[in-house]
Subunit: 468 residues, 3 copies
Amino acid sequence: MLDHPDRLLPADPNVRAVARRLLAEVEQLPIVSPHGHTDPRWYAENAPFPDPARLFVVPDHYVFRMLYSQGVPLEALGVPRRDGGATEQDGRAIWRLFAAHYHLFRGTPTRLWLDHAFATLFGLEERLGPDNADRHYDTIAEHLARDAFRPRALFERFNIEVIATTESPLDDLKWHAMIRDSGWSGRVITAYRPDPVVDPEFEGFRDNLAKLGEITGEDTLTYQGYLAAHRRRRAFFKSFGATSSDHGHPTAATFDLDPVEAEALFRRVTGNASVSAADAELFRGQMLTEMAAMSLDDGLVLQIHPGALRNHNGAVFARHGRDMGADVPTATEYVRALAPLLERFGNEKDLTVILFTLDETAYARELAPLAGHYPALRLGPAWWFHDSPEGMRRFREMTTETAGFYNTVGFNDDTRAFPSIPARHDVARRIDCGFLASLVCEHRLDEDEAVEVARALAYGLAKKAYRL
Amino acid sequence: MLDHPDRLLPADPNVRAVARRLLAEVEQLPIVSPHGHTDPRWYAENAPFPDPARLFVVPDHYVFRMLYSQGVPLEALGVPRRDGGATEQDGRAIWRLFAAHYHLFRGTPTRLWLDHAFATLFGLEERLGPDNADRHYDTIAEHLARDAFRPRALFERFNIEVIATTESPLDDLKWHAMIRDSGWSGRVITAYRPDPVVDPEFEGFRDNLAKLGEITGEDTLTYQGYLAAHRRRRAFFKSFGATSSDHGHPTAATFDLDPVEAEALFRRVTGNASVSAADAELFRGQMLTEMAAMSLDDGLVLQIHPGALRNHNGAVFARHGRDMGADVPTATEYVRALAPLLERFGNEKDLTVILFTLDETAYARELAPLAGHYPALRLGPAWWFHDSPEGMRRFREMTTETAGFYNTVGFNDDTRAFPSIPARHDVARRIDCGFLASLVCEHRLDEDEAVEVARALAYGLAKKAYRL
Amino acid sequence: MLDHPDRLLPADPNVRAVARRLLAEVEQLPIVSPHGHTDPRWYAENAPFPDPARLFVVPDHYVFRMLYSQGVPLEALGVPRRDGGATEQDGRAIWRLFAAHYHLFRGTPTRLWLDHAFATLFGLEERLGPDNADRHYDTIAEHLARDAFRPRALFERFNIEVIATTESPLDDLKWHAMIRDSGWSGRVITAYRPDPVVDPEFEGFRDNLAKLGEITGEDTLTYQGYLAAHRRRRAFFKSFGATSSDHGHPTAATFDLDPVEAEALFRRVTGNASVSAADAELFRGQMLTEMAAMSLDDGLVLQIHPGALRNHNGAVFARHGRDMGADVPTATEYVRALAPLLERFGNEKDLTVILFTLDETAYARELAPLAGHYPALRLGPAWWFHDSPEGMRRFREMTTETAGFYNTVGFNDDTRAFPSIPARHDVARRIDCGFLASLVCEHRLDEDEAVEVARALAYGLAKKAYRL
């Protein structure tokens, strides 16, 4: 049974009984998805999803990185090559290869998400494997052709109250405009992700600045013009529902330079000479503080996602490009890194900065103590590699005692894998209910309180923290 | 029920049954509190505690940091301002604000400690909240006015066999003298905490040295005179029962300079020029080794509490001063840091150095391997942010397999919150009994052994390690 | 009962029932021991083991480090002194001292291993302690005198299918030759551990190079000759069954210098001047990449064991030498450190690099993400201080969700304590079955899959990863 009603609930019968009662209080709540990477074009065009392989395998780096680690070439999985070289085009062939390696996902969250989608969307009851690969493929393909499986229908079936996508300031938000103009009632909002024009080491940074200048009519070769351009684009994004900005930096470094230093830095990173690593780091960190200043004006919530070393595998990057499963976490320091931003804005009650980490050692040591003190700080949920049952348990065990529940912000699915969204929220709800049930059974929390907390974690805190 | 007899015991019925039996063996043992920060004046004057807010809220940074993190101004909680600015003076108003935010403590140890005190001291059965804030306030206030709730009566009710406070070498120990002269039988001892005259970055360091010279009659502007002054004050502290010194440094660094280098360093940190960060670190580290040398002579146990970055929030420090909930842990290295001290004294059986950490990653990686080898080393209990059910479980899970139980030193309550002392020891006993019960149920330990270990962890090891 | 059938299985009755069924599927499987440090002379000469103390206490640093940490001199435990000074020679006296301190091992894996050996090999039913020390000693001594307790008989009784020892390239493998020539059917293979001729900081490095030149007939004072000498010795080791090399470095650093730089570096580390720490690090890291290149040619699996700071206690090193329980783990970075090797060889399907760590923080943050992507990488099991029930649980909890089970390599006993080998494999099998049973009971894995995984973890993965 791919979708057992007790899955992920604690094994102890007494704890499980409490967890079931808590889950019953939250499992029908709408999905609030304040941070993710689904493609707004899906909701705009509402075209059918292509075949099963192109829905579940080809675009999902969680899936293909595992197969690649065991020797399956990315080409055989249909992952496009930058040079246009041949890759497998037959969805069924990709699917068979995937099914033959499905055992690799034992014990992983990917397996949970996939099984949940197979069971709840397509009525599949059998575990995927080489023997039933074709049967599963046909069943899924047949469903995907139906109107009830188009993006908007799924959005409604998933009970999504609001979902945020993520766009660059250079994006024209045309798909968001098309959604708005369509009259469809689904709430799809954007989020402001300015890395391409904030990170001097981003591919095409200077061209991106020029383009930002064209779009905004600001002189983005001066620091004031550059900042003004951000303000304009943030306002534009807000007009498409944005309530947050998001920043994916290699570290959590922030800086708060005086205006003269900041201008000089801006000239260095936008000048003709190559940018030093130190200046790039300084500029990214300075911009986090500038963004916090803008947030105080326009109300956007500031999300910081630090600590991923991108494109670790040069050969894979050369052949296939970014986001190919070769990003790897690194140790991430927060206490000194965030000091400049916090020194300036940490005591602001009207600012919300949401911190994420790929380095779990920071939970109890740095993040919970910071978030349990500064009014401006909140902790984002377990992220990326840690968006998993054990990862979520560790998050609660290591943050709750110092930061409490109310300095956290509920769940982010953070995904481009649309059919996994209900599964991911379901996992989070189950793990949180299990954790709360343990507190109840150890008499650390009363059950009526646990119900309130469970509802907050599943729904209320995300709405509040993200101002939705 | 605020004080359930099974609280914090493992949920599994079989494990819980064993844990209950172990707990029954230790829950009546006297409290040995070898490290803490209660005010000796309380025991000396034996005056009634003021109102409930001034007992439970105003002085407890665990409490007010959480409220502050959610936007409650410290002034509204009665926390004094350095500039004498207005703060809330009405205890009942503070209490109501506290009660209105009591849900923030769900899942935190503060909640456990408070509920335990409310139930066991004041007979309160209902969870605190906005609706019953006044009723709780009145009940507590009414009790605090009784003789049975004065400090000495509570000390006896708490079954405290011995408690250590912490004083600076510049303290005249007058409250300790008053306690001694009073003829009261309660055993309140001091501990030697020389940070103000050891840390060149401490506020007023050079004035402090001058004052130390006056007190001791030693020439504290020479290194030999300075060391002699320490020896004198340690002897004085011993005459008030001290069995330990305590050192709160930003890192665990130790050094063992040759005498010429050490003298030159002393001249630099006490001279007129400003002290470099490197020299400050060097001097603190050198002094740990000097203190270890003195410990071999006078028998004081050496406690090292490293890794807190103090006063992270400049605005809060400017407005309210030290210890306002804005200290934050940092990553802390021990293996190389302690090498100089250990190279000189690590093999001494007559020396006891007790190590603490705010960085749990050091437990299994560094601290347990060091303490499982060096005769001079012992591990202090889970500390500060980790003085919590999950923190204590992680401590046992990550240290026991390499260091065993007998290289640890039992529990420290480390608190200035007097009414929380029984609750804190109760939490430690329950978590340790639960951990031991798990070992019994997994057939890793026999139950008769678990009883012995439980008694050692609750009582015997603290007496032995701290030479009490 | 020293050897309870349910030991280490989860306490919850439902989970335990599943764990028992899984364990029944694997507990009779042969032992594959692909990485360890038993003495090949034992199997070659097949002489009786000496007395109980010399089997269980004197050579086992896990045992004597714990006693030493509590003040027992190593001399009193019979640990030889480098200066030939007096040490206890009476096995019975050593044994009594050991028995008097047996309580120190409560909660440690050493206790589990010893109890298991006492029970299964010698039929001892009572816990060791001061009162029965002599009885245990006599019983064990009496057994050791029997033919059935000689090394080869124990090897067979332990159901060891294959065991690897570890030798230096300077070793003549004469004991391996003697085993081979004896006609005995036991499969004892060697492994190539070239630290003495790879690490410029190893005692006698330059003499070792000269000796390597003599043995191989290559000019080991040129880089090409030096590399050729490695190739020859690797081939020689392969002729004695070696399927792996093993590298114990202070860090995980790898480098991939161009040939001119590499030659210049080789001249520096082999020249007359003293070698800088930076050059030593560079050379060790360069050699890992060179070894990977050789592995692609000869098929040896490359094991990297980084992160131990050796000989932390100078006095113990001076008196007793290496491997005296004074090696301590340090924080270990992998992502940047391994990049040069991975950039060159990480995508090679025919290469297997097995990574170990003493720094558990790397499991979820660095090692699982790397191993879940690179085809050449696999994760070795929980190592050394973490070769323990809690250590193994953390390993599974922190690696499985990102790397899965199939990027791990089963269990290594890594021991020179021969009688502990079955106990160590037994612990691993029980912990893994317990972990799998939890997944089954939380409906994250079907039981038939758990059986397959349990068999892979206990047997199949080690054979496959180590090419045995």
